[in-house]
Amino acid sequence: MASTASTGSRWPSWINISARELLLIIGVIVITAGISIGSHGNFWNDSNLTNLMINTAITLVPAIGMTVIILTGGIDVSVGSMLGLVAVAGGTAFEHGVGLAAATPVFLVAGAILGFVNGALITYGRVPPVIATLGTLSVYRAAAFIFLGNHWITMIPPSVTQAMVLTQPLGIPIAVWIALVLIALCMVFLARLPRGRHIFAIGNNENAARLNGIPVERIKLAAYTLTGVLVGVAALMSLGHSPMVQTTTGTGFELTVIAAVVLGGTELTGGRGSLLGTLLGAILVGLVQNGVVLLHIQPFWSGVVLGVIILVSVGSATVRRAAD
């Protein structure tokens, strides 16, 4: 199912819906229908919808960066710990009475630094991405423990929740608008700017990219740093959603993010994938997690579902490659 070339398509070339994405849209509709029937109308009430949208946005924002990383042939398994450590940094700022406007850069810069460290290890340290970020997954989590100890940060100003969640232009929370704007920008970037195509090129054939004069290392470093910044954005959103930081904040989050990307059809071997797929993947993952709660299924089942999603997606990609 090669994503057909854009010639003759009614869509602008950067939308370019593939068979897989169509399948995901159908999946979203079917699961939505299933949950709304099974939950006796609890699905469609306002607080659940807001909840679902915010959770999806929190997954989606780092998933944008993760998509770029995976397109280059890399991966970042540290985003859960990164989210935790950024939340500790930003939360500490809030505890010291810093307001939302002044604290926002703290979130972004902290995320950028952590992402940059990942990228530097991988590009200049020549550590394989899985190993490098597995290491920082552990280090960033430990750092959160060292800073926070048994302490919980609960003094998150209400303005955060107000800004991210309660302000809802056109019935959609600001956090969700932020996610949509970010993904739209990145879609244009990937499809229409030379740098965007270079990202695909690196995942297709890193050596050829180097021979064509593409700055492979710099682009990879930027991809990991960008993901760090986006994790910072997600951390701020998540504090608006549940105003509390503890040492375990963000644990397991990497699995959610990677599942959304992989489910969206981006191949872990790099060079092939789309942000539209990631958007749909994030929605589907959000629905699954929401449905597990509404249908009173034991919460650990959502872990099973995410794991199976990753395995099936990767497996189907392997089958597809064999068929090529």
Partner: protein, 515 residues
């Protein structure tokens, strides 16, 4: 008139001299063929021209001005491009994207200007007689031949003035080859300087204006194509082998009198070799010569059980065998020393002792299957002495030793097993001359002990020096067999290259590395 010139260019890799004092000049509107065996220095020369590596000595001049080509980018700026044997492409991206990667045309707000790129590519596509619709296709949906044409288009887009073809026809069909030659002819007319690398003699007279012969990193001579015959080229290519031909001739018919130990009948490995029948007699060293990609290693790997042949029988000491995996082959008495020492042969970070005992472990288990550590140490020091492996002690990681000592270690491991037949694949590649001679001596000892030994090598000197008899393979078939010496370097090489212009059709595709 563009010109590209190497003056006194040399390149050393450690102690190995890959190129030595090369003077060569490429001019626009000329097809300059480079001819040489594997390892003659052709690849090194391309890498220097395309900025992949820097020469150790000498200078490069473009249009009579000295230049330094320190990056691929710089080579591109100078108008130098190469089309490699296996196209280097972005498989999941479109042809248009492949063409302009790294040199995109931008429109408003720095965005990709697809229309302008299509407009720029279209006339070039017409020149190569490609349909404009190819631009929207994914690269992976094209055949290798078309991928090559896309790369040529890319080179033209980038104002390439020196285009290097590295054995471009080795993976092309006959029709694709004919089309490629036509295109090369047109490029020449248009004033491009072309370097054409091949070891197919018949192609050279078809396409080249002049030819340079390289052997062992040295230039043997450059000739206008109508002033040199195929026979003269062959004799130049073998010119460096004089000493080997003068060695002591083994007793006549040494090979034929001995009973066959390993026999292969009608062996076929899909895509690599077809209907191979040969035998290795006991007590005799059989050289298996051929160019890279002729199917020698693939034949050996199938015999050894690493891959499964699709047809044919294998007999060891008169009994039909069909090893499912290498461990079974070793048990049956059949060994294979792999060609790629680093990846297939040794455990680099493990000690010499662990490496030398790794396939002899059952011999060291005592009560309760515990290993006899003292015995292993005695065994290792004994091998080190017998095979002159120079290492501080048995605990030294094998990766810390020189290539020659690594190879001697690996060799000793195999030599010490109770084998009936052993095939050595490129046993001395990349090691120094001293270790090489030692290994040749050890190979002789093995045969004297009654083992059937096969030596696969792309090094003609080596084959001539160690073999009692020589089997030559070409393009997945047996080209010729020389049952006894004296061997003539020209004849053996001619059989491998197929200079009787019989080498046509589709060559067996191979994953073997491009040496």
């Amino acid at each position: 008139m563009a010109s590209f010139e190497l003056r006194g260019v040399g390149k050393r890799f450690g102690g190995v001299r890959a190129l030595d004092n090369i003077d060569i000049r490429f001019e626009s509107g000329r097809v300059h063929a480079l001819l040489g065996e594997n390892g003659a220095g052709k690849s090194t020369l391309i890498k220097i021209l395309t900025g992949a590596i820097m020469p150790t000595t000498g200078e490069i001049r473009v249009d009579e001005a000295t230049v330094v080509i320190d990056t691929p980018r710089r080579a591109q700026e100078l108008g130098i491009a190469a089309v490699y044997q296996e196209p280097t492409v972005y498989p999941h991206m479109t042809v248009l994207e492949n063409l302009f990667m790294g040199q995109e045309l931008r429109g408003t707000a720095g965005m990709l200007d697809k229309r302008a790129m299509i407009a720029a590519a279209t006339p070039l596509l017409e020149r190569l007689r490609l349909e404009p619709s190819i631009l929207a296709r994914r690269m992976s949906s094209l055949s290798i031949g078309y991928q090559q044409l896309v790369l040529i288009t890319q080179a033209l887009l980038r104002d390439t003035r020196l285009l290097i073809f590295d054995e471009p026809t080795s993976i092309l069909s006959r029709e694709e080859t004919a089309r490629l030659f036509q295109i090369i002819g047109e490029l020449r007319e248009a004033g491009t300087a072309i370097v054409y690398i091949t070891h197919r003699m018949e192609e050279i007279h078809q396409i080249a204006d002049e030819v340079t012969v390289l052997t062992n990193g040295q230039r043997r001579g450059t000739y206008p194509i109508d002033e040199i015959s195929t026979e003269q080229m062959l004799s130049l290519m073998t010119g460096g082998h004089g000493s080997a031909r003068d060695r002591d001739i083994p007793p006549a018919e040494a090979g034929t009198e001995r009973p066959p130990m390993l026999e292969v009948e009608h062996l076929t490995v899909d895509g690599y070799c077809e209907d191979i029948s040969w035998q290795l007699p006991a007590g005799c060293v059989t050289g298996l010569y051929g160019l890279v990609g002729s199917g020698r290693s693939e034949t050996a790997l199938a015999i050894y059980g690493h891959t499964q042949p699709s047809a044919g029988t294998i007999k060891l000491d008169g009994e039909t065998i069909r090893p499912r995996h290498p461990a079974q082959a070793i048990q049956l008495g059949l060994g294979y020393l792999p060609e790629d020492r680093q990846f297939q042969g040794v455990f680099l970070d493990k000690s010499l002792e662990q490496n030398l005992t790794s396939n002899a472990l059952p011999g060291f288990s005592k009560a309760f299957d515990l290993l006899d550590l003292a015995g292993m140490r005695r065994f290792t020091t004994d091998l080190m002495k017998r095979y002159n492996i120079k290492a501080p002690d048995a605990d030294t990681p094998i990766g810390a030793l020189s290539g020659g000592n690594q190879q001697k270690g690996l060799f000793s491991r195999w030599a010490n097993l109770p084998l009936k037949a052993l095939i050595l694949d490129e046993p001395t590649r990349g090691i120094d001359i001293g270790a090489k001679e030692e290994i040749h001596r050890f190979v002789r000892h093995l045969a004297d002990r009654g083992m059937a030994v096969g030596v696969i090598s792309s090094d003609l000197d080596e084959v001539l020096a160690v073999s009692d008899r020589i089997i030559v393979m070409r393009e997945g078939h047996i080209a010729d067999t020389f049952e006894h010496g004296p061997f003539s370097a020209e004849t053996v090489l001619a059989a491998a290259i197929g200079s009787s212009s019989s080498a046509d059709g589709r060559r067996a595709q191979t994953a073997e590395e491009n040496a």
